[in-house]
Amino acid sequence: MNALSFHPPDAAQPPQAADEAVVRFEGVAKTFAARGRQTAVAALEDIDLTVRRGAILGVIGRSGAGKSTLIRLVNGLEKPTAGRVLVDGTDVARLPEKDLRQLRRSIGMIFQHFNLLSSRTVYDNIALPLEIAGASREDIRQRVDPLIELVGLADKRSRYPAELSGGQKQRVGIARALATRPKVLLSDEATSALDPETTRSILDLLATINAELKLTILLITHEMAVIRGIARDVAVIDNGRIVEKGDVFDLFTRPRHPTTRTFLAAESGRALPAYVAERLTERAGPGSQAVLRIIFRGSHATDPVLSQITRTFAIDVNILGGTVDAIAGRPFGTLIVAVPDEADLLKRVTAFLTARGLDVEALGFIALEADRASAPAAQNEGGHSHVA
């Protein structure tokens, strides 16, 4: 993708601080008025959110959480009932129709179902926003050709959307969204209709565009994999409210809100292995062991803490599951272990780990072998081969 250099920095924009807001939601609420038999619906409440220039902000939520409404407020497809949505300092809702159209040309948008015109070829689809903006035929050609190169569809120039795969269609969608050199790209579930591998390639393309063109991206999704794959900042939306927001790594490794935990539950490593989840109990039983989730963040991800615990406390530790992975480029590991449930041992182990900068979460208790329930826990030697 060497064709990226054609996009010069927008000369019209004065140099601005890196953390300056391109999009800002200020106390935004959106209520859909009652119509006919339907009662009024509060889609969004009390939204404060900032998208910094050059950032990739992911908003994650279930369907119906209000995320589609949220993204449509940015380009004025929806109007807030309270608060303000500012794009480069301009209150979108207060723009007259003509100025709003002008503003929309500086905001690209890609969609879950691509929304390409079936009657136009790849080239003509990408040309559409430029035609709408009144560009000359020659200007359009000079803009569209490199964009086709950029998204890797040079051999599909004269094809119709029906002749393309889902991933190729989204590449056309992306090229089309970039045609008018926008300052923000809105991504509305852009990978939700794609298989995991195609999703990966589309996310990579978006990441490249973000890095090379310094294009700010606001994306909404219901898939944690998308957030983890591309975003640096994340906001979790539930029931029309933002319940948690911050750095992706922090949120993945220290989720606070139950909704965030639900989204993370399916993530690899966080989920308990089925054989553990089935036997996990809230109270200690005879011979049961305490189950802990140890989270290694950043530089601690490679610490040999297990052998340290074994030595320090002279106990055996059962490994029940775990992974080491990278999130937002930083290493992150999860380990699920069982330790003997003795006196204050649990407290001491927890304190030991916390002192070393690890997060520890007590998940419950597990009787590792029912038929040896009466045997002292300490005799449960490392022989249990439940390691995932």
Binding site: H113, N115, L128, P129, I132
Partner: protein, 221 residues
């Protein structure tokens, strides 16, 4: 069949084609924009004009619910006003066009409404004006359907054109009634029916082919 009869069939065929072509042209000229408007002017739609939409909807329905022969007779004063006479092939174009317009409008409306709402949203997000959305998105995307609708309208007009004989409007239908039926000439009747069948077949095939060529939603080979 005498050469004279053959000449009659030929000129009647031309009369029919003339009436149908003119009525289709006028009907499309008015019906196409009318249909586009009907498809986009309900509350909250692109051109949101609910009152105009309701009024035009009532007029369209009223015209479409009037049987064609009643329509032809009841608008004779209007026909005279427009065509200068109420009798003859040219005058017959008026009721045909009046009947074709709302018919075409409804067919066009249906085709436009078939277009994915997501495309309208995408075009709005690009900063397109309502007229640009109509011209660059809705009509081109609906074109295959519109072509099929027009084909249907033409075929229906050929049927209607048989009735305008009551106002002296010539054509194949008129020939069939006057010669085939009233003068007991079954061969003329058979010839008229045959020409009509060929005409309808030909127009339908042409319309299908054109629509298929315009429709890029399916892969061809």
């Amino acid at each position: 069949m005498s050469p004279e009869i053959i000449r009659l069939i030929a000129s009647s065929t031309l009369d029919t084609l003339y009436m149908v072509a003119a009525a289709t042209a006028i009907g499309t000229l008015i019906g196409l924009p009318l249909g586009v408007f009907l498809a986009t002017s309900k509350r909250g739609e692109l051109l949101s004009a609910p009152l105009a939409n309701s009024i035009l909807g009532v007029i369209v329905n009223a015209t479409r619910s009037t049987p064609f022969i009643i329509l032809t007779v009841s608008i004779i004063p209007f026909t005279r006003l427009v065509a200068g006479t109420s009798i003859g092939t040219t005058a017959a174009i008026v009721p045909l066009a009046v009947a074709a317009t709302p018919f075409i409008a409804r067919l066009v409306e249906g085709s436009i409404r078939e277009v994915d709402q997501g495309l309208i949203e995408a075009a709005r997000a690009m900063g397109a004006s309502p007229l640009q959305i109509l011209a660059k998105v809705l009509v081109p995307e609906a074109l295959p359907g519109i072509v099929l609708g027009l084909t249907l309208a033409i075929v229906s007009l050929i049927g209607f054109s048989a009735i305008v004989g009551v106002v002296g409007g010539g054509g194949l239908g008129d020939l069939g009634i006057r010669y085939g039926y009233q003068r007991f000439m079954p061969d003329v009747m058979a010839a008229v029916v045959l020409v009509l069948i060929l005409l309808v077949q030909g127009i339908q095939s042409l319309g299908d082919a054109l629509s298929r060529k315009l429709n890029k939603r399916v892969r061809h080979g």
